[in-house]
């Protein structure tokens, strides 16, 4: 068998924040590391993150600490989170942020020269370390520049993994292809870390790029790993809605953190009308108090625009459906109004939100310092994902680890803004550390050549011997439309059952997709292969969403609009049955330890 082969102790699939942080850790532990990514290095989703990274540094408000961060994360996640992960995350995030600074990240500063922190939805205190609104770029570049000097890390760019390889129960490698030449490549590894990010491309309107086809979930699932709570997909309340070509592109929550407000077409700040009970005593009573909060008044409560994303997204959806939306089917997000309150508002906005200023200027022809933006919900983040052990990030499959957006547990039913970047660092590091430990105890595994060959044949048949002439792009669009319409922000049993039927049909069509026969940098061919991942994850998330007959966090069921105690005590778990069918079971959530229970009581 002629195939280029590389051998590493640890193979990291994905070079976003989680993957790079994992690679650095495993290399520092003395392992040889392969780092694989579908795009060029430094272009992963992490680069797009805007608002900031959450860590209870307490630089702006010294009342903050890990306990409050933990309690906020659990409340935001509606208590179906993995509490061990929420605890570790809250405790370790500050150290990970400080470490980034030691590696060269240049965060914005407080007056006394420390790392500045800003307000964000669901965080009780100003907690997000940031660099204007390009925090992700700062993080990815810092990790990239830190890792390029490590000789133990070999980077394989524009290389897509299509299959995990197992020796018995254990994962021992992966098969992929280079996008450039279309040649296959085999990686042998003693441990594999999945850090492939999310699945936003299953939906029509999304802030996510072509990369987010749910590869990691699908790879892990087919290797026997369990997927957890796939129904929890975050619809970010503020995506661009106009012009059509930019629909879905993110408008950072930082706009609201800096004083931006949401209004309907009548000019009303509708968020004040619907404040959930469990946030009532943390929310401003009136416009004045909300404004004071954004300006750092420690006695003020946050404005309702900074309630959790699930809630804000639903409120916007309601305004639009009730006919109170903006001309292009959104609502107004206005930061320009702050000129009534502060001098130099224009300069302030450009300084604090430079990339938003640019984005609207260049893509929408709108000057956000003088006009309101039009915004609406966009598919943004996958809370669910590969089920991992909270401490080690290992899945139920020996040797297979996951971190970042591809792993699940930390965020429960809804992620707080800023908690992803910190997640990447905290659990990227842990995954790297424990994968290295695991790898150091293993012998190289045996690679099943027949399996590799079958997998390569499958990949090539889309060009060499297609079973039909379906257009893969068209099929992807059809799937996205169905998921958006039937499994979107507001869900109903009958619609989701229709979605399952449709997915079945799409699966059949997916067998017949074809691409021009040219292995060199052929996106049509790549899309044929991505489809199978997209369909797997679409089915998984739809099944979970049907099974969870309640509304909680990001999952809103029109037919079960309330939270239920029964479902508040379980996670949904997807696993591939021996016969290849997709199996779903409910699993009781581990109760909080007494200590953590105490923390929640104490913080409230």
């Amino acid at each position: 068998m002629e195939i280029q082969t590389f051998e590493h102790d640890v193979l990291v699939i994905g070079a976003g924040g989680a993957g790079m942080r994992a690679a650095i850790e495993a290399a520092d532990a003395g392992c040889s590391v392969g780092l694989v990514c579908k795009s060029l290095l430094g272009k992963a989703h992490t680069v797009m993150a805007e608002g900031g990274i959450a860590a209870a540094l307490g630089n702006v408000d010294d009342r903050d600490g890990w306990k409050t961060h933990f309690a906020d994360t659990m409340r935001g996640g509606q208590y179906v989170n993995n509490s061990r992960m929420a605890e570790l995350h809250a405790k370790e995030a500050p150290e990970r942020v400080r470490e980034l600074e030691q590696w060269g990240a240049v965060f914005d500063r407080t007056k006394d020269g420390k790392i500045l922190q800003r307000n964000f939805g669901g965080h009780r205190y100003p907690r997000l370390a940031h660099v204007g609104d390009r925090t992700g770029l700062e993080i990815i570049r810092t990790l990239q520049d830190h890792s390029v000097h490590k000789s133990q890390v070999a980077v394989y760019m524009e290389c897509c993994i299509t299959k995990l390889l197992k020796d018995g129960e254990r994962v021992v490698g992966a098969l992929g292809y280079y996008r450039e030449k279309g040649r296959f490549v085999l990686f042998k590894a003693k441990a594999v870390i999945i850090a492939t990010g999310g699945l936003g491309k299953a939906f029509e309107i999304t802030s996510n790029s072509w990369e987010y086809t749910g590869d990691g979930y699908s790879l892990a699932y087919h290797a026997g790993a369990e997927l957890l709570d796939m129904e929890f997909i975050q619809f970010h309340p503020t995506g661009m809605v106009w012009p059509p070509s930019v629909r879905g592109i993110l408008v950072t929550e930082g706009v609201r953190g800096e004083g931006g407000v949401l209004r309907n077409k009548d000019g009303k700040r509708f968020m004040f009308d619907d404040i959930p009970e469990n946030y009532r005593n943390q929310t401003a009573k009136d416009i004045e108090e909300g404004w004071r909060y954004t300006q750092g008044d420690k006695h003020a409560m946050r404005p309702p625009e900074l309630l959790t994303r699930d809630h804000v997204a639903r409120c916007i959806n309601r305004e639009v459906k009730a006919g109170r939306g903006s001309p292009h089917g959104g609502v107004y997000l206005d930061i320009s109004w702050i000129k009534e309150r502060i001098p130099n508002a224009r300069e302030y906005i450009k300084k604090k939100l430079p990339s938003m200023y640019h984005q609207f200027m260049e893509l929408g022809g709108i000057d956000i310092t003088t006009e309101a933006m039009e915004v609406g919900p966009t598919t943004h983040y996958t809370m669910g994902g590969i089920r991992v052990d909270g401490d080690t990030q290992m899945s139920n499959v020996p040797g297979l680890f996951a971190a970042g957006e591809s792993a699940a547990g930390l965020h429960g039913a809804n992620r707080l803004g800023g908690n992803s970047l910190s997640d990447l660092l905290v659990f990227g590091k842990r995954a790297g550390e424990y994968a290295a430990k695991y790898a150091q105890q293993q012998q190289p595994g045996w690679i099943d050549e027949a399996e590799v060959k079958a997998s390569m044949d499958w990949a090539l048949h889309f060009m060499d011997a297609p079973k039909g002439d379906e257009n893969p792009y068209k099929l992807q669009q059809d799937l996205q439309k169905s998921m958006q319409a039937l499994v979107g922000i507001v869900r109903k049993e009958d619609e989701m059952l229709t979605a399952l039927e449709k997915i079945k049909g799409y699966n059949e069509r997916a067998l017949k997709v074809a691409a021009p026969a040219n292995r060199e940098y052929n996106p049509g061919w790549h899309t044929c292969m991505d489809l199978s991942n997209l369909l797997t994850v679409s089915e998984a998330l739809t099944r979970c969403a049907i099974e969870r007959k309640e509304s909680r966090g990001a999952q809103f069921r029109d037919d079960f609009p309330e939270k239920s105690k029964e479902f508040g005590e379980v996670n949904m778990i997807i696993k591939k049955a021996p016969d290849g069918a997709m199996q779903l079971r409910r699993e009781p959530i581990k109760p909080l330890t007494d200590e953590l229970q105490g923390v929640i009581k104490e913080i409230g």
Binding site: L40, K43, G104, R109, D145, V148, S209, S245, V246
Partner: protein, 260 residues
């Protein structure tokens, strides 16, 4: 008011360079134009409906990742930020970046750039207790003091400046010249308040900053509006000139009476 909505014709002709490893030709495609559309949308439309194997890079579609660099009507641009309304009437040509080896269609081999980064001494912070470093090791830096470095750290590595610079584009001095992107990178480190490393030997020898004759073409194409020449290259050249002779700096100093 926004110009959106006043979009011109409903279709446009795109002449897209198609080929592999340097050999190829222009192919014409017609794309439907909708309000606010950018060139990258047209390329995607062509891919989805007419040429499924048309190769291009993209990720964010919002000017944040620096993947979609190409030349539109001969000018280095991010395709995702090039609005159709901003282009003159007539056919639109889309070609790959000229300064890098062609792979296929609009995709070029930019690996040389990644090699340059490795040559730059990484961030090397001062020790605890030194100026700017507190006893616990965390930094104390004023916002005004980090702003210069932050300007350079806005770089999204689109490599359009590299594509434009005549030292690379016309003279192909890739062996001895790292290019504006990496002067920006070096400057971000050199101007970091607590960095202590010395990158002047890199700039002078490996990076070849002396080849730059401050034409400012790089600054003009930078989508992040980094003042590459004025804020990064010239100050670095100044530093290098204090240690090594650089005729361009000498001339520049003479012209602007900035005796060093």
């Amino acid at each position: 008011m926004s110009s959106i909505g006043s979009a011109a014709a409903a279709t446009r002709t795109f002449k897209v360079w198609r080929g592999e490893r340097g050999t190829g030709e222009f192919k014409s495609f017609t794309a439907e134009i909708s309000p606010g559309m950018v060139v990258l949308d047209a390329i995607h439309q062509i891919q989805a409906t007419q040429a499924p194997d048309l190769a291009c890079r993209w990720n964010c579609k919002a000017g944040k990742c620096g993947s979609c660099s190409a030349e539109v009507n001969g000018k280095p641009r991010l395709m995702c930020l090039t609005r159709m309304e901003s282009l003159p009437d007539g056919d639109v040509t889309v070609t790959p970046m000229k300064s890098f080896p062609s792979i296929k269609d609009l995709v070029t081999d930019v690996s040389w750039n990644y090699e340059q980064n490795k040559k730059i001494t990484p961030f090397t912070p001062a020790k605890r207790g030194a100026a700017g470093v507190a006893a616990d090791g965390t930094f104390r830096m004023q916002q005004v003091d980090v702003e210069r470095s932050q300007e350079f750290r806005k770089c999204i590595e689109c490599f359009l400046c590299q594509d434009t610079c005549h030292v690379i584009r016309d003279h192909d001095k890739k062996e001895v010249f790292s290019g504006p992107r990496f002067f920006v990178r070096a400057a971000s480190l050199e101007m970091h308040p607590v960095d202590t490393a010395d990158r002047e030997p890199f700039l002078k020898h490996t990076g070849g900053i002396g080849f730059c004759n401050i034409t400012k073409c790089c600054t003009e194409v930078c989508p992040e509006h980094i003042k590459i020449t004025d804020n990064a290259i010239i100050p670095l050249k100044e530093r290098v000139a204090d240690r090594y002779y650089d005729p361009v700096v000498m001339l520049w100093r003479w012209m602007f009476k900035k005796k060093g």
